[in-house]
């Protein structure tokens, strides 16, 4: 009883419930069981996007130009490095350092701010699992089966419970 009570207290202190929801759309082209590039598209929820748009769409035209894109990258995207981009690439069960992100592009689609970026590597997809989730539980990262755009391999997206936070993982066959 005491053990659970203390667990509950610490869990309450350490995590907060999600306030931002991000749909994650991975695009991967697998050839001979391997992939050189993994492309991610984050679609931030409508309400959080409305706050972001206030800050980043400085000319208010509903689009992101190159200057605004750079501003977003410097002020709103690079900070995710500290949070591992809420993405954990596991190879043979071990999390690898997150590769440097490339080709960052922000856009606004149907009121939602979207971030698109790529990572490069030599991924053996049968040994690779992609997990998303915020260890602080402030952001809920969501990958549903219909968000997957995978060619050359079968992949499944499922929810995952990591004790102090919840996320999703993509496994390949």
């Amino acid at each position: 009883m005491k053990k659970y009570f203390i667990y509950l207290l610490f869990a309450t202190v350490l995590i907060a419930h999600p306030h931002t929801f991000i749909d994650v759309y991975p695009t991967i082209n697998v050839e001979n069981g391997k992939a050189k590039t993994i492309k991610f598209k984050w679609k931030i929820d409508d309400m959080t996007s409305s706050i972001l748009i206030l800050d980043v769409d400085t000319n208010g035209d509903g689009k992101i130009n190159s200057k605004e894109n750079q501003f977003i990258k410097d002020n709103y995207f690079t900070v995710f490095e500290d949070y591992h981009f809420y993405t954990y690439i596991r190879v043979n069960g071990k999390v690898i350092p997150f590769p440097k992100t490339k080709k960052f592009q922000a856009s606004i689609e149907n009121y939602r701010v979207c971030y698109t970026f790529e990572i490069e590597g030599d991924f053996d997809m049968k040994k690779t699992v992609i997990e998303v989730g915020d260890t602080d539980f402030y952001v809920a990262m969501v990958i549903k089966q219909e968000f997957l755009n995978i060619s050359g391999a079968k992949a499944t997206a499922t929810g995952v419970d990591n004790d102090f936070y919840y996320g999703y993982k993509v496994e390949f066959k």
Binding site: T12, L14, A16, H19, D46, D55
Partner: protein, 247 residues
């Protein structure tokens, strides 16, 4: 703990759907459907608040620990829950309207900065409440009958400690409504969501009082031990929150 994890995951899923539903509904608001749609939005905001507060945070642990260390009736739990939710709503409205209309730009960064300050104030207040509860428990060993005279003061302190940190969930809805030009709806949504949260927080207090009554009769006159433990845990909670803001 597997069921607890599944339950928390399900809560996240509900919030995901409610978040989408509420934003779509607010966007669909126009002159022709304003009354009926506004009522639907307020109803969803209430449910959103209720579900949102079931997740960790919002002072439930503080309220539960407070009532573990203080003999009270169920009415006080409701009062406490709603005091917290009123302060929560006011804090969110002041922060949101203040940042939006006074500072105007860099909302998200300003919000994070102010939120950290509010969190530090809250943590210091929780530490003070913890110390106060320990002191009261110590004193009650000798003067039992005087114990509850000052409890109103500590209740207000608990409510302020838990409520002063504005809820980002409420702030997001408020700001979303402001951006779309629905200022009155922004205020009403904050109130509606806070009523939902207040109900959940009250339930945490009620459960704690029920636990206290059972444990109190079991411990037969040695309830100050329970009070000491409750006060110490509140102190610990405040210390962890404070350290959390230092990261």
């Amino acid at each position: 703990m597997e069921y607890y994890a599944q339950f928390m995951q399900q809560l996240v899923n509900y919030q995901y759907e409610l978040n989408r539903y509420i934003s779509t509904t607010i966007r669909s608001l126009n002159d022709e459907n304003s009354l009926s749609t506004s009522l639907v939005i307020l109803g969803i905001a209430f449910i959103y608040g209720l579900v949102h507060a079931i997740g960790p945070g919002h002072g439930k642990a503080l309220v539960a620990l407070y009532f573990t260390s203080n003999k009270s009736d169920y009415k006080k739990a409701f009062k406490m829950g709603y005091m917290i939710s009123i302060i929560h709503a006011l804090s969110a409205l002041i922060f949101t309207f203040g940042i939006f209309f006074i500072l105007k730009t860099m909302f998200r960064q300003n919000f994070n900065q102010f939120s950290d300050i509010a969190m530090q104030i809250s943590a210091i207040m929780i530490i003070s409440v913890g110390l106060y509860l320990i002191y009261e428990a110590y004193k009650s060993r000798k003067e039992k009958e005087k114990k509850l005279i000052k409890s109103n003061k500590s209740e207000t302190a608990v409510a302020f400690s838990a409520g002063i940190v504005p809820c980002p969930g409420v702030m997001t809805i408020v700001l979303f409504c402001i951006v779309l030009g629905h200022h009155t709806l922004a205020i009403l949504s904050a109130i509606s969501m806070s009523i939902g949260m207040g109900l959940t927080i009250s339930v945490a207090g009620i459960l704690s009082i029920a636990f206290n009554k059972k444990a109190g009769s079991f411990m037969d006159g040695k309830t100050y031990i329970l009070e000491m433990i409750g006060g110490s845990l509140v102190l610990l909670l405040g210390t962890f929150l404070f350290l959390g803001t230092m990261r």
